[in-house]
């Protein structure tokens, strides 16, 4: 059954419900097949080989219907595809499950492996949640979020359940009591762990993958970072770049006004590299230039202002954005060009690491308006000019740049923006985007890239472009941060930034405009394009960042109110029920005291005796469990001699030989009155009052 579920889960992630169902069936049958095969005298390797062969054969068979054109005409192409899918999943899960289960039945080692595989498959839908996809797995989490609940406790509970079940199975206690004990102890332990562990700390155990760009991670203090950690202010030109196209969310940005950049992509700069250190560009630590790079996050309640753009000569506008970082970062990121960072309270500390507001001066209009603007600022010192235009002492850069710019129309050959564009187009045409490159160990990695195979990733391209632009005298630097395709935004106002979108790009400085991004996206890429973000997740995180949970919270509040009201109602009902019960008991007590006056004569004595016992019970005198009635009466004889007589009369009637004439009502009443009189004379009034008010006393009469 579990195997079937595992197969279905695996199939569901890749296919439709129909094939998943067939996978479930296949897995289920696979178990039986394995069991059947296990009973045959077939030797293990042969059995495994047989199943493997069967896998191949069945896969071929399952694909067969797709190759039959007549069938296709009969059912329609889509149905045929579905059929093929169903068949192939069925066969695949059948043979796979049979294979593993057969092996696990035969060889001990494989039984552990089998368990691991099953657990792995079943856990895989939940793994995404940990990676930042707080809306996965959809079937479980979506309904929770939509009602305004945090699914983490639910997931924890599921995990705890699974762990308990696993532990119970593996412990394999023989006695039922042992099982019960385990079943009680293990969840308790897990609960303890859960209670003692803050959930944020848990998240910190799983570092983000965007680390490789040096963007994320907490700011290190005073170089205390460990040796293998990358300094935060430089960017390695490494081979086998780790930056996979990981879709783990790292931040969500809310646009407070609608805006689509002219370039078609949002650039969120975190830092810039402008100082040439003889090998590559590094951040300006001296602080001469790059004054527009924020040093750190704004302190709570404060804001950081940056120089931003010079008095603009191109159409720009101010745009406020709210950034909510999901994973920790060294510096704030801001939509180009950020001018002010204003700290903001974290809308949801469970989900976000930090939140702040950014006021940016964004470019409007066409990129072509940037043509014809001189590079640099007239007020720049020669040192600053040198910092922004320094190139490696390799003449090839200049030669190549000249050659590239030669292709421009003569009137644009000296135009900085046109030159930058020329470099960009050249690299886009010639370069190949790849995360696997071989330049790291070259003396000049960038030269190795540019004058070699031109295969590299964004950092290579950015560096190469900056060197080429600088060699033409255009001040340029490498900007680093995240970029997000404007198309990904969809119709909403929130932009989900994922770790795979960490990026480096060249920027040039134009007079009266400031730093302008001239990004390079090579035409040829060896890396599959990144999928667009999950719009649902983007919307949800946006809502959280906007604190739009208010709406949800309202619903929750309503729920809480309803719960409270329900509790109150329940309390009232309980109180009322208690009151009614007390009154009922009291009324019944009074009736028992008076009953001997009414009803048939034959029952009067029994009722009088009962009333006497009630009266004694009121003042706390009761027969012990197992004590004889006569013994009890004899015990009380000194204080209440009337009881003994009454008891004897009653027992004569009840236990005595039939035909004994019962005592008359008047006699019974007389005895009862005598008894109550002696109770009055011997018991303190306070005790009697207390007893009279107690509606339960008669319940204790045996």
């Amino acid at each position: 059954m579990i195997w079937g579920c595992a197969a279905a889960v695996a199939a569901l992630q890749l296919s439709l419900p129909g094939p998943a169902l067939s996978a479930f069936l296949g897995g289920f049958l696979g178990l039986f097949l394995a069991a059947r095969l296990d009973r045959t005298p077939l030797r293990t390797p042969w059995g495994a080989a047989l199943i493997a062969l069967a896998t191949l054969a069945l896969q071929l068979l399952a694909r067969l219907p797709a190759g039959l054109p007549s069938l296709g005409r009969l059912t329609g192409a889509s149905n045929l595809l579905l059929l093929t899918e169903i068949l192939s999943w069925f066969c695949l899960s059948l043979t796979t499950v049979a294979f593993w289960h057969f092996l696990s039945r035969r060889i001990r080692f494989f039984s552990g492996l089998e368990l691991a595989i099953v657990v792995g498959i079943l856990a895989s839908p939940f793994a995404a949640h940990r990676g930042g996809f707080i809306n996965r797995p959809y079937f479980l989490v979506d309904p929770l979020w939509s009602r305004g609940y945090d699914p983490v406790p639910v997931l924890f509970a599921l995990g705890a359940l699974a762990a308990t079940a696993g532990a119970l199975v593996t412990l394999g206690r023989s006695s039922r009591r042992g099982h019960m004990l385990d079943a009680l102890l293990i969840p308790l332990l897990l609960l303890l762990i859960f209670a003692l562990l803050p959930s944020r700390a848990l998240r910190d155990w799983f570092p983000d993958k965007a680390e490789s760009m040096g963007l994320t991670g907490k700011p290190r203090e005073g170089g205390k970072g460990k040796g293998n950690e990358r300094p935060q202010n430089e960017m390695e030109l490494e081979d086998n770049h780790e930056q996979s196209h990981s879709p783990t969310p790292v931040a969500v940005v809310l646009l407070q006004d609608d805006y689509t950049p002219p370039s078609g992509a949002y650039y969120f700069r975190q830092t810039a590299f402008s100082v040439y250190n003889g090998r590559r560009l590094v951040a300006d630590l001296v602080g001469q230039g790059d004054k527009d790079i924020p040093i750190g996050f704004p302190a709570p309640g404060l804001e950081t202002s940056l120089p931003g753009r010079p008095a603009s000569q191109v159409p720009t506008r101010k745009l406020k954005t709210t950034v909510a970082l999901i994973s920790s970062h060294t510096r704030p990121i801001g939509l180009i060009t950020p001018e002010r960072f204003i700290s903001q309270s974290n809308p949801n500390p469970e989900q976000f690491w930090k939140a702040y507001e950014v006021e940016s001066e964004v470019l409007l209009g066409d990129e072509m308006m940037l043509l014809g603007r001189p590079a640099g600022e007239s007020g720049w010192s020669p040192e600053l000019w040198k910092q922004y235009t320094e190139v490696p002492p390799d003449p090839r850069y200049k030669e190549l740049a000249d050659e590239v710019c030669e292709r421009l129309r003569p009137e644009l050959r000296r135009d900085p923006y046109a030159q930058a564009l020329a470099v960009r187009f050249f690299l886009e045409k010639e370069g190949i985007y790849s995360l696997r490159s071989r330049h790291m160990h070259a003396a000049e990695p960038v030269a190795d890239f540019l004058f070699g195979d031109k295969t590299g990733y964004c950092v290579h391209f950015a560096h190469a472009a900056v060197y080429l632009m600088r060699s033409q005298g255009v001040p340029a630097r490498v900007g680093a941060g995240y970029y997000s395709d404007a198309r990904n935004r969809g119709r909403g106002s929130s932009i989900l930034i994922r770790s795979g979108e960490a990026h480096a790009w060249p920027e040039i400085y134009l007079q009266g405009v400031g730093w302008v991004v001239v990004d390079i996206s090579p035409e040829r890429s060896l890396v599959p394009e990144m999928s667009s973000p999950d719009p649902e997740l983007q919307r949800m995180l946006g809502q959280m960042a906007r604190n739009e949970k208010d709406e949800l919270r309202g619903e929750r509040k309503n729920l809480r109110e309803m719960l409270l009201r329900f509790l109150l109602l329940a309390l009232k009902v309980l109180l009322l029920a208690a009151l009614v019960t007390m009154l009922g008991l009291g009324a019944w007590k009074v009736w028992r005291r008076l009953a001997f006056h009414y009803g048939p004569e034959s029952r009067a004595l029994g009722r009088a005796y009962r009333a006497a016992l009630d009266a004694l019970s009121d003042v706390g005198i009761r027969r012990q469990y197992g004590q004889g009635r006569l013994d009890f009466a004899r015990e009380q004889q000194e204080r209440f001699p009337e009881l003994l007589e009454l008891t004897r009369m009653h027992l004569d009637r009840v236990m005595g030989p039939p035909g004994t004439p019962p005592a008359t009502r008047s006699e019974a009443v007389r005895r009862y009155r005598e008894l109550t009189r002696s109770i009055r004379s011997q018991v303190k009034p306070a005790r009697r009052l207390l007893g009279a008010l107690n509606p339960f006393s008669w319940l204790l009469v045996k």
């Binding site: 004889g628 006569l630 027992l651 009840v654």
Partner: protein, 334 residues
């Protein structure tokens, strides 16, 4: 209690018989009221008693007094009121049952009854004799007859045995098996009498020796038999009492501390005993209290405890409690 004058009269006579016997016994023995009561109950319930106590605790005196208190008014047979048999290992069955002796005058064998032909027989240290003798004794107790030379001789209807055994000093004894212990209605373990009673025994010793019990009224054999019949017929047992007894027995059998529970026969034997107890308490019906008082004495020697269990009296009390309580509650409901 005036519905049936004859019934009332019969019960009144029976309690008078018991009262006279009790008075005589109490005069002879001091501080043993509980044992005397149990003895009288056994006598009325037609059962035998096994006393477990130490030498010198007055059991022979008690038995002798009891035997003396009963006047034999049966003219046909000359039966002694009281006999005492000291059981020893070399005793033979014929020593207690009697033997056929050749009469040279008549030329025939004539049966000479043994000491067992008496109203009240005291068997001292019954566990000291051989199983053969024990068996003969116990047959006589169960069947009220002895068989000598294939001729059965009927014992008196009143035949009442008080056997004793010493709880210590078990060396060289033949302990009675449970099946034979079953012949005794009660096994009474006598505890030391109270200090004041013991002082009283010493103080009144001379006086009591001087004024013998002769002055106190005695009862006749037929009166005792009459009392037995009256108790059996006229002391009422409520049907719920039967339920209660069965429940007690079942509880005992179920208890993990009991290896061998009590038999149904013991319940049957208990019935006349509780009737007698009820009469001694001046009642003509049985109450849970009667059962509570007698059950330990009837059940202790009939069951076998599981290893590790001790204090059968407490165990029986605990097992009886729910059933007795149910019986008590029943009394309030109806």
């Amino acid at each position: 209690m005036t519905a049936n004058p004859t019934r009332e009269q019969a019960l009144e006579n029976a309690s008078q018989v018991i009262e006279r016997l009790r008075k005589r016994c109490q005069h002879a023995i001091r501080g043993r009221e509980d044992v005397i009561d149990l003895l009288l109950i056994a006598l009325m319930a037609d059962g035998h008693v096994l006393l477990e106590d130490y030498p010198g605790s007055g059991k022979t005196t008690l038995a002798k007094t009891l035997g003396d208190s009963i006047i034999d008014d049966n003219p046909q047979e000359k039966i002694a009121a009281f006999r005492r048999i000291q059981f020893t290992p070399d005793l033979l069955p014929s020593d207690i049952t009697g033997v056929s002796v050749f009469e040279p005058d008549k030329g025939t064998f004539e049966f000479r009854p043994g000491p067992i032909f008496a109203h009240v027989v005291v068997g001292d240290e019954i566990n000291r004799t051989s199983p053969k003798v024990q068996a003969a004794m116990l047959e006589a107790m169960a069947e009220k007859q002895v068989t000598v030379d294939n001729v059965s001789h009927q014992l008196d209807d009143l035949f009442f045995v008080i056997a004793t055994q010493n709880p210590r000093d078990q060396a060289g004894t033949y302990p009675l098996p449970v099946a034979q212990l079953d012949r005794f209605l009660f096994k009474i373990r006598m505890v030391d009498i109270e200090r004041s009673a013991e002082i009283d025994v010493l103080a009144s010793y001379k006086k009591r020796r001087a004024e013998s019990t002769e002055e106190l009224p005695r009862v006749t054999r037929s009166q005792v038999m009459e009392a037995r019949r009256a108790i059996d017929e006229h002391v009422h047992i409520h049907p719920e009492v039967h339920t209660c007894l069965v429940d007690i027995a079942r509880n005992l059998r179920k208890s993990p501390q009991v290896m061998q529970g009590v038999s149904t026969r013991s319940l049957v034997l208990l019935l006349p005993a509780v009737q007698a107890e009820a009469l001694m308490r001046k009642r003509n019906y049985v109450l849970p209290e009667d059962i509570e008082r007698l059950a330990p004495h009837v059940f202790t020697h009939r069951m076998e405890l599981a290893p590790g269990a001790e204090d059968p009296h407490r165990l029986i009390k605990e097992c009886a409690k729910p059933a007795l309580e149910a019986l008590s509650r029943q009394a309030l409901k109806s």
